[in-house]
Symmetry: C2
Subunit: 128 residues, 2 copies
């Protein structure tokens, strides 16, 4: 992507933008993460999601350990140019490190959080 397209984005004080990853067909929201400029540039070049891991302080090519990469179909930015939306195909059908399709598996029910989606694969089989 062009330098101008990167420069027009409103990066936060840490040089990051929040990123939402969404299934490009069903619209299911898969996960939420962060990107720096390099991560976004790499995402566009590879056609696969590359995030910035805040905990590990390094680029994180999603699926590098698990094989569960995300093929990017569309990149969008919001009206304030400070949030990225990726429309992706989730390889392996599992975005979450818990082995679920999506990270958003806790639903508020009668005032408390309930797990509402199943584990599709044991994490020890994904990362072992």
């Amino acid at each position: 992507m062009s330098q101008a397209a990167l420069d027009t984005l409103v990066w936060n004080d840490d040089g990051l933008l929040p990123v939402i990853a969404q299934n490009h067909v069903t619209g299911e929201i898969l996960m939420f993460a962060w990107m720096n400029r390099e991560a976004l540039r790499e995402t566009v070049e590879r056609g696969e999601a590359v995030y910035w891991s805040r905990s590990r302080q390094r680029l994180w090519h999603k699926g590098e350990s698990s094989g569960h990469t995300q093929k990017v179909y569309e990149v969008r930015v919001d009206c304030d140019r400070d949030v990225i939306l990726l429309k992706v195909e989730q390889m392996g059908g599992i975005a979450c490190h818990t082995g679920r399709a999506s990270c958003f598996f806790n639903r508020l029910e009668e005032g408390d959080w309930k797990v509402v989606t199943p584990v599709l694969k044991n994490p020890s089989d994904i990362y072992g």
Copy 2:
């Protein structure tokens, strides 16, 4: 919602969580905003989205000026308990202050951002 359900969330250093608002039927992502504890409690009590406006530093009942409130059907939290997902019905069909259905109207095309969705209503007619 219960105090325990609020306490189990991982609020950031400013006492906030990022929030994704999604159309509860189509899956379209409408906007991205922030909540503090009071905003989330009010959202659940009212059944309508209440955010924390970082620019105005106050609670922001979405639609308070425009009438474009968001009726909340579902509240979810992710695996790390630090991102909220709201599944909503967007009253008036317009979530964005630009008069568009969604805030995510800029798509990366051949390296540059292009506007890909129409203005449904002139902002001066929404807020005038």
